[in-house]
């Protein structure tokens, strides 16, 4: 029998611990496929965040490092500058990248550091049990905003792509989602562009992925997909926020 679908060689043969309906597994697979398709697995170093995807260091079949919460862009910078021949990606959640690690994210972008950041925005802290994230929507419930995010007391969410697009430094910024097959294909294309930018030494790419967290949101996996369409995309519009390859033409 001929195998027509299997685990990509960019993933280890490990059972992933993500919840049913979670978006992490989808994005992991896309990255793993791209490492093989672009033939970069054997020179890639990946960075796992703190959060649900801390275990990414077990799942990606490449060299991996697990730094302190939010410091992925700084650790990536160290690895890339020390070994420019390596392809370096930092996989981060919203608490990691947009709360505790905001400074490292902004400054790596401002330096146009030749690295790839993959930012999973699911509007909640998953690992710690569903607390308010920097990306939690106004009015959205979390375990630390049980009546919904009060913008007068807890402020507004951070739109990362829009924030970073205010800098001259970064080379490529795009926001995508993984709630439909069509969007998953678009996400893969965006990730491919990001890795190719690094291969070509163009500089900093950040791909923000709107991703489902049914457990954190307290709804079913099916409803989670609808929630992305109804709630997240209106607040976090999809699209390319910076593409310097076009500016240079």
């Amino acid at each position: 029998m001929k195998m027509i679908f299997g685990r990509p060689a960019g993933l280890t043969d490990t059972k992933q611990r993500y919840c049913p309906g979670c978006g992490h597994g989808i994005v992991h697979r896309l990255i793993a496929e791209l490492m093989i398709e672009l033939d970069i697995r054997e020179r890639t170093v990946g960075i796992a965040p703190v959060g649900c995807s801390v275990f990414a260091d077990e799942y990606f079949n490449c060299d991996m490092i697990q730094p302190p919460h939010g410091r992925g862009p700084a650790v990536s910078t160290g690895i890339k500058r020390a070994r420019p021949e390596c392809i370096v990606f930092s996989y981060q959640g919203d608490g990691d990248l947009a709360a505790i690690g905001t400074a490292e994210t902004v400054h790596a972008a401002a330096r146009n550091e030749n690295i790839t950041l993959i930012f999973i925005n699911n509007a909640i802290y998953g690992m710690t049990g569903g607390q308010l994230a920097p990306t939690t929507l106004p009015g959205m419930r979390s375990t630390t905003s049980v009546k919904g995010r009060d913008i007068y007391k807890q402020g507004y969410p951070i739109k990362v792509c829009e924030l970073i697009a205010g800098l001259d430094g970064p080379y490529y910024l795009e926001r995508v989602a993984v709630h439909t097959p069509k969007d998953i294909i678009k996400t893969k294309k965006a990730l491919k562009t990001a890795f190719q930018n690094q291969i070509k030494n163009n500089g900093f790419s950040l791909i923000e992925v709107l991703s489902m967290c049914p457990t954190g949101w307290g709804i079913t996996p099916i409803d989670s997909k609808k929630w992305i369409v109804d709630k997240m995309i209106p607040y976090y519009p999809l699209g390319v926020f910076r593409d310097r390859s076009k500016e240079e033409k």
Partner: protein, 355 residues
């Protein structure tokens, strides 16, 4: 004979780092160590190395983590408040068994304190500093010559034990000019082998993972006990010190760094006056030179600990003299530097004119 030059302590440190084959520096400006990154920015450029002025000390230590995990010699320098910010990163680096070199040009604290020389980061340096069970090997130079030599020693110790190494100095040593003998052959970074744990892409080998966590029951305990064995080995093998006139002394001063220099002058004056005074200088603050300390305690009645702090190293002196001797203290916290006369007065009070 090796070349000899009159240079500043901070500049000697930079040349020592370059000569040690290090080509990666990341740091954030803070007084009184700014001459180090300033000269480093020029020297790293000349040597085709990496110089990064970072957005914070937090970013700097994590860049070191990345570069060192990639198998390259990497260092940062800072001063007390900046080193406090680095503690999270140092804990992760220690927990991941990655060798790095960190220089702390200590200033007066706590808080913003001042920019005068101090030794008040002894506890932080010798007791881990961040969260979790770990130690950093800590070297305390007392001359511009040692500022030049210790980076190489530091990297060698860091790599031998896969552990972060601290060099603890102060602004006075950094700003001091002394003749330095360039007494070792500069290390060619290309001659340094790739460590068997380095992240470099998994071509032709199993993938490698650098991490400080293990959630499996009992596993972290195993890791920590393995690290304990490593620390025991460091304690057994790496105690370094210098002693002056310690045999048959009525009183031995215990001091490191700048205080040791001041105490050297005191020994001279006191001996001229007929006092039988010695000086014991710990060079490694962790591991503390405990074997020699205990040995000296068996035959010495008085120890006078001199520190630019409220008294931190004195706890180790008390611990390793094992209650055999009388321990006295002369301290100058908050940026004060003791003078030989001050110390001499203290000695005369202790010995009560007994010569």
């Amino acid at each position: 004979m090796a070349e000899k030059k009159l240079i500043y302590g901070n500049h000697a440190m930079v040349e020592g780092v370059i000569s040690a084959g290090c080509r990666f520096f990341a740091g954030y400006p803070i007084t009184p160590q700014n001459e180090i990154p300033e000269l480093m920015s020029i020297r790293m450029n000349e040597e085709d190395g990496v110089f990064l002025q970072t957005e914070s000390e937090i970013a700097a230590i994590n860049m070191l983590f990345g570069a060192a995990a990639a198998g390259k010699r990497a260092m940062t320098s800072s001063s007390s408040p900046g080193i406090s910010l680095m503690q999270e990163g140092i804990s992760y680096i220690a927990g991941s068994d990655i060798p790095v070199l960190i220089v702390n040009i200590v200033r007066g604290g706590p808080g913003l304190g001042n920019i005068a020389p101090a030794q008040s980061d002894y506890f932080q340096s010798t007791r881990g500093g961040g969260h979790g069970d770990y130690y950093t090997i800590t070297l305390a130079p007392n001359s511009v010559q040692e500022l030049y030599e210790f980076p190489k020693t530091g990297f060698e110790l860091a790599e031998k034990y896969r552990n972060p190494v601290l060099i603890l100095a102060d602004g006075l040593l950094g700003q001091m000019m002394e003749p330095v003998e360039f007494n070792f052959e500069p290390v060619d970074p290309k001659s340094l082998p790739e460590p068997e744990w380095a992240l470099s892409g998994c071509k032709g080998r199993e993938r490698r993972v650098v991490r400080s966590y293990d959630l499996r029951p009992g596993k972290l305990e195993e890791w920590n006990w393995r690290r304990y064995e490593k620390y025991q080995k460091v304690i057994a093998q790496e105690q370094r010190y210098e002693e002056n006139y310690c045999d048959n002394a009525d009183l031995i001063m215990v001091a490191y760094g700048t205080c040791a220099r001041v105490s050297e002058a005191t020994v001279k004056i006191a001996r001229e006056k007929g006092y039988k005074i010695g000086l014991f200088r710990p060079i490694t603050l962790w591991p503390f030179p405990q074997k020699k300390m205990t040995e000296l305690a068996k035959k010495t009645k008085h120890f006078l600990v001199i520190e630019m702090s409220l008294g931190q190293m004195i706890e180790d002196v008390k611990l390793y003299t094992e209650c055999r001797s009388q321990i006295h203290f002369h301290g100058r916290p908050g940026g004060g530097v003791p003078t030989p006369i001050e110390i001499l007065n203290k000695i005369e009070t202790i010995l009560g004119g007994k010569k």
